[in-house]
């Protein structure tokens, strides 16, 4: 009977012990994940930020053309009606050649803008942004010409946006007291919507990846600043503009912005003027074989670009059609963003593909992002409210990854107690290699190793070859000296390692996709996740988990009264 009771207690104790062991493993993986989270966000000298931004750039560099990642408005195929497609974003580029066609010079005079607006009116766009600060003094007649044309465009349903540094920039135009044909004063604020064209750059590399929601001081209330050009243009195009602006600007810090998804491929329309090919054909193999993964973008920009000279002079681009059909197809119902392309003006941005483009493309890309993501662009965790929820999501992902790592380590430990990695050399291989190397005097082999590593650091093309030769040599040594049973175990260990890596990769892909698609997070965390899966957990585990286990043992000993120290 006693034996029966003891057997039942033992049988009941086994699941309890298993549950306790499982509970401990879960807690340990949480500890490991939280350490990983801390290190991934440990931003000393901005190092964490640089890694995240590079991860993000790589994603856009290699998949930025894919509709599942960046569902841009597709270019209108020849013969298709423009009205059937969503509105396009078109950059109209003014340069010295265009100014010369109207006897004007840099800086672009107000009277040129007035004429040019009248020319753009023929294209029947949806909206026009003048990405020029009209802060230089102008003759009253020139100001009145501009306001008269602008008033006419506004009357014809074309929204007009003017770049300003502050709303006070419109005051000199107001002072001109221009009047329309009926004698009424034309106020600039009635015809132009003032918009901010301020830019944001990442401090780590000065790349313009973020686009501000509005321009305001840190002390001003959210939503009280000058709304950024792309945000205002997008919101004015939706059914409830005020609600759209409020949704995008509320509860944000003054330096908040949304991420710019960026396509590495040029718009096919630009092939008519671009010296460079607008179709990128680079293979991902380039990124693997020690070739630079960035930049991928060509000087053919991803936004359709119409040079003002081609608009003003049919000889510059007769291919726009005898009846201007290609021109109208491009611009009809589009957002036209008029910017400058002047040598030495300094109005340039570094794009996430790490190439330089005139500043107006910043606003064009932002507007394309808002259109592509239906006004819900990607925003970093630090600009979200409450942002702790998004870091908790990170922790959850790392917890799953840490659990997979723990399971793999448990398997390795069961087969080979004391081993941590399937890539560690076996004792037999070490015992074979050490005497071989020991035939050389210590200074000789250390200096030879140092010289070899110096050469590999200098000549990067040798690195891949060196890694392949080393792996092949070590495998050959293991096969020669290790017992067959151990080789078999190692192959099984490698299979488990690759399986868990594939599983971890799947978890990372799902986590990034959920974060991107539903939480609207930029794809900047995958490299951090992956590096922890590949290497980081090994380091964190020895440092933290062994300590955690020791503490756990002490706690158990104290609570059970064992007193084991």
């Amino acid at each position: 009977m006693a034996g029966t009771t003891g057997g039942a207690a033992s049988a009941a104790g086994k699941p309890r012990a298993a549950r306790s062991s499982m509970f401990r493993a879960v807690l340990h993986s949480l500890l490991l994940a939280s350490v990983a989270l801390f290190f991934l966000n440990f931003n000393l000298f901005g190092t964490a930020s640089a890694s995240k931004r590079f991860s993000q750039d790589l994603v856009y560099a290699w998949f930025g053309n894919e509709a599942w990642l960046y569902p841009r408005v597709p270019p209108v195929p020849p013969g298709a009606a423009q009205h059937a497609a969503p509105p396009r974003v078109v950059v109209v580029m003014i340069d010295e050649e265009a100014l010369a066609l109207r006897a004007a010079r840099w800086p672009v005079p107000v009277e040129f803008h007035a004429q040019f607006l009248a020319e753009l009116e023929v294209l029947r766009p949806r909206a026009i942004l003048l990405d020029f600060l009209l802060i230089d003094a102008a003759a009253r007649q020139d100001t009145c010409d501009l306001l008269t044309v602008a008033s006419r465009l506004r009357h014809n349903g074309i929204a007009l946006y003017l770049a300003v540094t502050t709303p006070a920039d419109l005051e000199p135009m107001d002072a001109a007291a221009c009047r329309d044909a009926s004698g009424a004063v034309i106020h600039p604020a009635q015809v132009f919507t003032p918009v901010s064209v301020q830019r944001q750059v990442d401090g780590s590399d000065f790349v313009s990846r973020r686009y501000p929601f509005e321009q305001r001081t840190a002390t001003a209330a959210a939503g009280s600043g000058v709304v950024s050009a792309a945000v205002r243009m997008y919101c004015d195009a939706v059914s409830a503009p005020a609600a759209c602006v409020a949704r995008l600007t509320r509860a944000r810090t003054a330096d908040a912005g949304f991420e710019l998804a960026w396509s590495p491929e040029g718009d096919p329309f630009n092939q008519r003027w671009s010296h460079a090919s607008c179709i990128e054909t680079a293979s991902p193999v380039r990124a693997i074989l020690n070739q630079p993964a960035l930049p991928r973008e060509s000087p053919c920009p991803p936004v359709a670009t119409l040079f003002a000279a081609a608009l003003l002079d049919p000889q510059a681009d007769p291919a726009l059609g005898a009846d201007n059909q290609d021109l109208f197809k491009l611009a009809d119902g589009s957002f036209l963003l008029v910017g400058g392309n002047f040598r030495g003006s300094g109005d340039l941005i570094t794009t996430p593909m790490h190439t330089l483009l005139p500043g107006v493309y910043y606003h064009a890309a932002a507007l394309e992002n808002l259109l592509a993501f239906d006004g819900r662009p990607k925003v970093r965790k630090e600009f979200r409210t409450p942002n702790i929820g998004f870091y908790a999501y990170d922790l959850l992902v790392l917890w799953v990854l840490a659990a997979i790592f723990q399971w793999r380590q448990a398997w390795v430990q069961r087969v080979h107690p004391g081993d941590h990695s399937p890539f560690e050399l076996s004792a037999a291989a070490r015992a074979w290699l050490a005497p071989l190397i020991a035939r050389c005097p210590t200074p000789i082999w250390i200096i030879a190793t140092a010289v070899l590593l110096l050469l590999l650091s200098t000549y990067k093309s040798l690195q891949l070859i060196a890694v392949a030769v080393t792996v092949a040599s070590l495998v050959a040594v293991e096969l020669r000296v290790a017992p067959t049973a151990e080789v078999r175990e190692r192959i099984r260990g490698l299979q488990v390692y690759l399986t868990t890596m594939a599983l971890s990769l799947l978890v990372i892909i799902v986590a990034i996709w959920v974060g991107y698609r539903w939480l609207r997070l930029p794809p900047g965390d995958w490299l951090g996740y992956f590096s922890f899966v590949a290497f980081g957990f090994f380091v964190a585990r020895t440092a933290i988990l062994e300590f955690g286990r020791r503490v756990d043992e002490l706690y158990v000993a104290r609570t059970t009264g064992g007193g084991r120290q």
Binding site: A100, E111, V122, A276, N324
Partner: protein, 168 residues
């Protein structure tokens, strides 16, 4: 000495009295081949034509936008009176935007001229380049972008982008 002074004074007076020749519009034949031709009509019937007032010397300014019917009430071809850089055509109508505007100009982009009818359709475009200060000096030209050969007078204008700095 007195004779010399008289000759000098007479020469100076003669020089002052005779007006210097106006600078010859050397580029007119080169860049305005459409003079003595006519505007036949708009490229697109239903779109208004933006008209400019002014001149190259005083600057151009927008005058008004009108349909072709206003510019040419009888739908007759309009004589091209003057031309600026081959792209801006002065029309024989100075009243379409009301009085006091002076001669009116229209962009060749929006109208068809007799010269257009004489020229075969072309796919030639002028290759442009974005000024990013970091582009390669020599890049392959794409097949679709055929550089247009400009007349010598116009080719010297600073608007033609020069070679940029080599790619870093």
């Amino acid at each position: 000495m007195k004779t010399w002074l008289l000759v000098a004074l007479a020469s100076a007076a003669a020089a002052a009295g005779v007006p210097a020749d106006e600078p010859a519009p050397a580029d007119k034949p080169a860049v305005c081949p459409m003079l003595n031709q006519r505007i036949l009509g708009p490229r697109s019937d239903e779109r208004p034509l933006p008209l400019l007032a002014g001149s190259a010397a005083r600057g151009f300014r927008p005058a008004c936008s009108v349909l072709w019917g206003t510019l040419s009430p009888n739908n007759q071809p309009l004589k091209i009176v003057d031309c600026f850089r081959g792209s801006l055509l002065q029309v024989a109508n100075d009243a379409a935007c009301g009085p006091d505007t002076g001669p009116l100009w229209v962009s060749a982009r929006w109208v068809i001229t007799t010269a257009d009818k004489q020229q075969p359709a072309s796919r030639t475009a002028t290759c442009q380049q974005l000024e990013t200060s970091a582009l390669a000096a020599t890049r392959e030209l794409a097949l679709d972008c055929v550089p247009k050969k400009r007349p010598p007078a116009e080719a010297a204008t600073p608007a033609t982008p020069a070679a940029a700095a080599p790619h870093p």
